[in-house]
């Protein structure tokens, strides 16, 4: 039988991969993809807890639907911001986005 711990370890691995991509990647679109990976890791955690600790009333699935909604909004606004920055600076290198850095 599949245990709850397997899903938690899998979500932890996905979250750590997302953090690594978020910190090290220099393409701005790849940073957004890493954020999506981290949100999906959180979703796997919520679904695992919902199935194993609260199978009667599945509130974890409700929270997962809300997280998916917020992720969709975040992706739309984030990609729009990246397009605006690309038109202003003519690059998508994260190291060049230092307008607000003293």
């Amino acid at each position: 039988m599949i245990q709850l711990q397997y899903f938690l370890i899998l979500a932890a691995a996905l979250f750590c991969i997302g953090i690594y991509g978020l910190v090290t990647s220099r393409n701005a679109v790849r940073v957004l993809m890493s954020i999506e990976l981290m949100l999906n890791a959180v979703n796997i955690n919520l679904m695992g807890f919902s199935n194993y600790l609260d199978p009667g009333e599945i509130k974890g699935q409700v929270f997962t639907v809300f997280v998916i909604t917020v992720a969709a909004a975040e992706a739309a606004v984030g990609l729009a911001i990246i397009l605006a920055i690309y038109r202003n600076r003519n690059t998508i290198d994260m190291e060049q986005f230092n307008l607000l850095k003293w």
């Binding site: 599949i2 932890a12 991969i17 890493s34 199978p55 729009a80 397009l83």
Partner: protein, 198 residues
């Protein structure tokens, strides 16, 4: 171990290996278009894991929203900013990546040991007690989660308007706009960048 449990374990193994491999490909590959397509693989395998967790509606929503909307949006953004640029090499780049990898592996070890040594209060009822998850989810949405449900719709509207305003291409007129043209209502003032910079 009967047939159903072994099928579950085998499919869990296949899905988890596929998910980790495609996630590593998203982060590590140098071509961003390959990364975007592998991101779809991550979402599909996560949807399979949701089906293993008795959540059919959320699995379908995962495919519809993530693969159908967000992944396509990311692909369009890649096409819009399609610029072959060679990033300038940074000093001590390997030091950054190495230290980040060490921190991430340490975080994974911490989370893994936490998940293994914590005595979870597992529910004794069977996970298949809910016959139809859509009915239960709908009851939650319209009774005790009604306010977040309505706020989510407002959030989606705000995100749509904000994305349109942010991503709109600037209108470049032939002449400098007069004061009346920019100050009329119902038109957003737009900056004629080419004419003012030259």
């Amino acid at each position: 171990m009967n047939l159903a449990e072994s099928v579950q374990i085998v499919s869990f193994g296949i899905l988890s290996v596929m998910m980790i491999a495609t996630a590593l490909g998203v982060v590590l590959l140098s071509n961003i278009v390959y990364s975007a397509f592998l991101l779809g693989g991550v979402f599909l395998s996560i949807s399979g894991l949701y089906i293993l967790l008795n959540a059919d509606f959320v699995a379908a929503a995962q495919i519809l929203i993530y693969v159908g909307a967000i992944n396509v949006l990311i692909l369009f953004a890649i096409m819009l900013v399609n610029k072959k640029e060679d990033f300038s090499t940074l000093p001590n780049r390997w030091l950054r990546q190495g230290s980040t990898a060490v921190v991430c592996i340490g975080l994974f070890a911490l989370l893994g040991t936490m998940a293994l040594i914590t005595p979870w209060q597992l529910s004794t009822t069977s996970p298949a007690v809910v016959e139809n998850t859509i009915v239960v989810l709908g009851e939650h949405f319209f009774s005790d989660f009604l306010l977040p449900f309505e706020l989510a719709s407002v959030l989606l509207l705000m995100a749509m308007v904000g994305a349109i305003v942010l991503a709109r291409r600037d209108f470049i007129p032939d002449t400098l706009p007069t004061e009346e043209a920019t100050s009329t209502s119902l038109t957003l003032p737009e900056r004629p960048r080419e004419l003012t910079t030259k």
